[in-house]
Amino acid sequence: MPISVNMPRLSDTMEAGTIVRWSVKVGDAVTSGQVIADIETDKATMEMPVFDDGRIASLLVPAGQSVKVGTLIAVIAQEGEPLESAARAATAVATAAQATPSVPNSSTTATKSDSDASMVAGATAESSDEWAAVRGASVRVSPVARRMAEEHDISLGSLQGSGPGGRIIKRDVQIAMENTRSRSAPATGASELAIPVVANQRPSGGLVIAGLESESVPVSSKRQIIARRLVESKSTIPHYQVSMKFDLDQLMAMREQLNVDLASVGIKLSVNDFIVRGCALAMAKHPYVNASWAGDSISLHTQVNVGIAVALDESEGGGLVVAVLRDADRKSLRAISAEAKAMGEKARTRGLSLDDMADSTFTVSNLGMFGVEHFTAIINPPNSAILACGAAIKQPVIRNDALTVGYEMVATLSSDHRVIDGAMAARWLNTLKHSLEHPATLLV
């Protein structure tokens, strides 16, 4: 009765996972609840526990390799069961499921119930177990879909079945064939003709220009999901931008003073902390900026959860994650600062958990630390708006009709026009302007 351990689905959007590290090796005893691996998903690195007792009979996927959800990754032999026979069953499974398995929701599946197993014994029982394991992991594909995929050299593993139980059906293969055709069209046609084809391309498609030398870099699952989400956002949400200039003289002065006063307790407020607080407070007056388009309705969120875009180091594959400060409108500047700092640190070192990234209602993206004056950002769905902040730059400014030197910052709000109209965006920016230019209001 070997226990199959399959790649679990750790988030709604997860399609594949990478084994970052195995915490066990073949022969190790494991108990229910014990973590046996770290798994990198499209969103986070998570620990994977087992739900059975036994000994590791086989680890089928090496660390570093990405496999589809549902793929058999390990086999646990139960008590009294020889490791070899359990591992043999696993080999049969791996061979049968080489393409891609169906997608069970639970991460571990007992291949045979105990009561069933107790009725049979010896060699027959062993071989029937093998078959049970093979059946459990098989891909569901309609015969014609299988044949067409073979004929057109389409990997069944790359398809998501739309039939009952995830069965891959003819329609799924036909769609894949069309995608392949539209992707390969530019390579065969004249380059002039390629342009309209590119315009019609599906979001996930890429364009390879013949004749250019390039190095191909494999794309991490994180990068893939960033690509998909951004294309989805930019191509489906009617974006528009409204910019505003903020006078940050007072804010910069106040920040300097506070940081001197709070240095002894290790607090260092960033400009962004003030902005996050300002954005969160502005929502009370402008609920539509803290909302989501829901097709036939608009959801006005009762919580204000401000996401902060965190850039990850390029040496570690780069990418962008959004750390979420929950109930940011109810948190003090000091709490926001501490939390934002901790989240940024966690994102760059261990990676954020799903919870850390879930449920944002608005996002702030800040490139001020790079000296950027002005930029625009792409909305982070299901948010309806994102604020792109440049640096607070010391420059010649006009104050009280006199030319002087002061700090100014430009921030640009990208909005979903289905939810937020231009005037609404402008009014929200004015509210933010008022609080950033009267920073004492952010302290109470």
Partner: protein, 330 residues
């Protein structure tokens, strides 16, 4: 008359019999009420006048007796047509028609053939209750040595019945009381014969093959009309004879559509529909996008109540549901 002459299904049957009786003196008709009463359903109307009582024979209510008598006549070289008022009544003649006729050539080592046609009304739909609503094809088609024909339209009724009368094997010819009044174009001419084992494509389509025979062909056409409005294109194949079965036509269609729904008005267990589905699975295994779906009469005795009986039949609504499911449009 013009080429677009339209006659009823019952007239087509009579034309077939009369023409063959004029052509071949060995052909004769016997059954309950076929002569003096002009047929319980007026199929043999006027035939007594034309052919006389030696060839149009009224029998007692004794199916076992007159079926057996006719089989003996066939063994001796005559070509009898046995009319069962309803195939439901043929059950009492099971021994002669199933146990003797289809096996005669085999058991006599080729000495005795059995060129006989058994014909009559088959199937439910007329509020005749459980015992008079039999679809015998499920049970009878199981027997080797026979041919079984189930025409859906007047032209096929005529052309197939003429072929049946000329055939040297016992032919089970299944008509339907519900279709006797159905009108359709039947070409003029004595030599218009429809061969056995050749399906007819009643409607062309690309998304789903609907395979049927007899009365449910009309349900299929009705369903195909409705489904076309939903964007599902059905190809309707009328098998016409189920022994021999033109599996080739169905296979060609399924290779195109990848989806097959079999519609059969007999009960599902051990039926022509289950046989056809099995053959499609065998021949089209790598072409199928879903398992072959089947629509049969419900697995209960025929209800008497009109509304229940309509629901019991493989009606258009049930066919539509099956096609949507089979094409993943449910």
């Amino acid at each position: 008359m013009s080429a677009l002459r339209e006659i009823e299904y019952r007239d087509a049957l009579r034309e077939a019999m009369s023409e063959e009786m004029r052509r071949d003196a060995k052909v004769f008709l016997l059954g309950e009420e076929v002569a003096e009463y002009n047929g319980a359903y007026k199929v043999s109307k006027g035939m007594l006048d034309e052919f006389g009582p030696r060839r149009i024979i009224d029998t007692p209510i004794s199916e076992s007796g007159f079926a057996g008598l006719a089989i003996g006549a066939a063994m001796q070289g005559l070509r009898p047509i046995v009319e069962f008022m309803s195939w439901s009544f043929s059950l009492v003649a099971a021994d002669p028609i199933l146990n003797n006729a289809p096996k005669m050539l085999y058991m006599s080592g080729g000495q005795f053939g059995c060129p006989i046609v058994f014909r009559g009304n088959d199937g439910a739909g007329g509020q005749l209750g459980s015992t008079h609503s039999w679809c015998v094809e499920g049970m009878f088609s199981n027997v080797p040595g026979m041919k079984m024909v189930i025409p859906a339209t007047p032209d096929d009724a005529k052309g197939l019945l003429k072929t049946a009368i000329r055939d040297d094997d016992p032919v089970f010819f299944l008509e339907s009381e519900r279709m006797l009044g159905l009108k359709g174009h039947v070409p003029e001419g004595d030599e218009i014969l429809v061969p056995f084992g050749q399906a007819r494509i009643r409607r062309e389509g690309t998304d789903c093959t609907l395979a049927s025979w007899g009365r449910p062909v009309h349900f299929c056409l009705e369903a195909a009309d409705a489904l076309a409005k939903e964007g599902i294109s059905c190809e309707v194949i009328d098998l016409r004879s189920i022994r021999p079965l033109d599996i080739g036509s169905v296979v060609r269609s399924v290779k195109k559509t990848s989806v097959c729904v079999v519609v059969d008005q007999s009960w599902s267990f051990g039926s022509p529909g289950s046989e056809l589905a099995a053959q499609v699975h065998r021949h089209c295994f790598d072409d199928l996008d879903n398992f072959v779906h089947r629509v049969h009469t419900a697995d209960v005795p025929s209800p008497y109540a009109f509304n229940l009986e309509q629901e019991y039949l493989p009606n258009a609504r049930r066919i539509c549901e099956a096609v949507r499911a089979a094409t993943y449009n449910a």
